[in-house]
Symmetry: C2
Subunit: 293 residues, 2 copies
Amino acid sequence: MNDLLNKNKELVENRLAELLKIAGINETLGSAMNYSVMAGGKRLRPTLNILANSLLNGNLAETLDIACAIELIHTYSLIHDDLPAMDNDELRRGKPTSHVMFGEAFAILTGDALLNLGFEVMLHNAIRYADNMEAHIKAIQEIAAGAGAQGMISGQCGDIENEGQILTERELYMVHEKKTGALIEASLLSGILLCGPDEEQIKAIRIYGKNIGLAFQITDDVLDIVGNEKDLGKTVGKDRIAKKFTFPTLYGIDESIRIARQKTQEATESIRIFGEKADPLEKLAEFVLQRKK
Amino acid sequence: MNDLLNKNKELVENRLAELLKIAGINETLGSAMNYSVMAGGKRLRPTLNILANSLLNGNLAETLDIACAIELIHTYSLIHDDLPAMDNDELRRGKPTSHVMFGEAFAILTGDALLNLGFEVMLHNAIRYADNMEAHIKAIQEIAAGAGAQGMISGQCGDIENEGQILTERELYMVHEKKTGALIEASLLSGILLCGPDEEQIKAIRIYGKNIGLAFQITDDVLDIVGNEKDLGKTVGKDRIAKKFTFPTLYGIDESIRIARQKTQEATESIRIFGEKADPLEKLAEFVLQRKK
C-alpha cells in the first residue's frame, strides 16, 4: 500500500509545485501558499481521486489537476481551521501553522487564495479536455458541493457550535459526514465522473466514500487520544480532545475501532462490482484503518 | 442612471435571495450568509456584468447568475477584509460587520462559503446553458482570475504590507488595479464573453474596466476623507485613512478628482465602438464619478 500511496503522492506533489508557480502575485502570498501546500501529508484525497478514475480506465493526466485542486482546497480548509479564531493550533504536522509563520491576515488570505486556485486549476483543465467538458463541470460541481456550505463548511460550523456539548449519535455522524466525509466522497466521485459511470457505479463509489470518510475520521480521533497518551507534551491536541465530542467520547476507544473496522468493510464490499480494478481502493481502505499518525 | 441601477439591483437582489436558500446547511451559517449578502450596496459589479452582456445583445437570464455570483464573491471579500486581523472594521454600510454579529470563526467560514457558492452558482448555470458551455467556462475563469491570487487577493496583500508605508505612483496604481480593478474588469469581461466578442471588443471592455476601476477606487478614497470631515464620529474610518496611503495622500483631493475624471473619460471613450448600446455603461461611469457615499 505504501508504494501505491508514495507513487501517487510524488505525482501529485510534483504537479502541485508546478501549479503554485503563479506569475505576478504578492511575494509573501506566494510563499505562504507554497509553505502550506508543500508541508507534506499523505495526499489521501488526491490518491482517492486518481484511484477512482482508474476504476473505469480513466486517463491519469486528465484527472491529475483535479486531484491537485482537491489538495489545494483541503489545504485551505486546514489553514482556516488552525486560525486563532477557530481551533487555534500552532503546529500542523510538526511545523508552525500558517498564521504563526505569516500572521493572521496572510493566513486568511492564503486560505482564500488556495480555495480560489483550486477552481482556477479545474476550470483550466476543463478547457484542455474540451471533448469531455460537461463531465468536467459535473466533477467540479461535486467538489464544490463537498467543500462548500452544504458539505465541509457546515461540518466545521457544527464542530464550532458543538464545542463543549454532548452530542447524540445522529449529530455526531452528521458533523463527521460533512466535515471530513463530504470532500472525501467528492474526491472519489469527481475521479470516476470523468469516465461516464452508470448509476450503479456512482452509487457504489458514494457508499465507499461515505464509509471510508467515517472510518478515517474515527481512526483520526482514536489516534488523537492514543497519540497524546504517549506524548503528553502536545497540550494543544489535549485541549482539543477535552473540548470536542468524538466517537471515542461516545463509545470509548475499543468500540470506536470496531465501528471503524465495520465501516471499512462496508466500504470495500460496495466496490466489489469493479472486480480486481478495485484492489487499490480496498487496500487504501485497509491503510486508513491501520495507519499511524 | 439611478433608474437603471435600481432596476438591475432589484433583479440581482431577488435572484440572490433565491440562491441563498440552500437546503441542509448549518443554520447560523445560513443566517450569516444572508445577513451580509442582503445588507445592501449598489450592486455595481453585477450591474456592470449585465450591461456588458447587453452590449452584444446577450441574454439577461443567462448572465444573471454570473452577476449574482460576482456579488457573492465581492461580499466574501468584504467579510474577510473587515475581520479583526485585517481592517478590523465594526461597521459596514452602517450595520455591524459579520464577525461582530456572528463571531470571528463564523465570519471566516461565511466568507469561505460565499466564495465557494459563487463558483457553485456559475457551474450550475454553465450546465443549464450547455450549448454555450465553453464561453461560460471562460467567463468563470475571468472571474476566478480577477478574484484570486493574481487579482484581488494580491491587492489585499499589498494593502496590508503597505500599511503605514509611503508608496510610489506605480505601487499605488498596482495595488488599486488588483484590489478593486481586477474584479470589476472581470465582471465586465464575463458578461460580454457569453456573446462571442471579437478581440477589439474584448480590448475595449478591458480598457473601460481598468479605468472605471481606478476611477471608482479614487473617488472612494476621496469620499472617505470628505465623508469623514463631515462626520468626525466615525473614528474607524479615520484610523484607516491615517494608516493607508491613497490617491488623495499622494496627489491631494483636487488632483485626485481630476485623475478620476480623466480615467472616466478614457473609460467611456473606449466603448464608443459599441455605438448607442454603450450609453448605459457611459452613464454608469459618470455615476461612479459623481456618486456620494
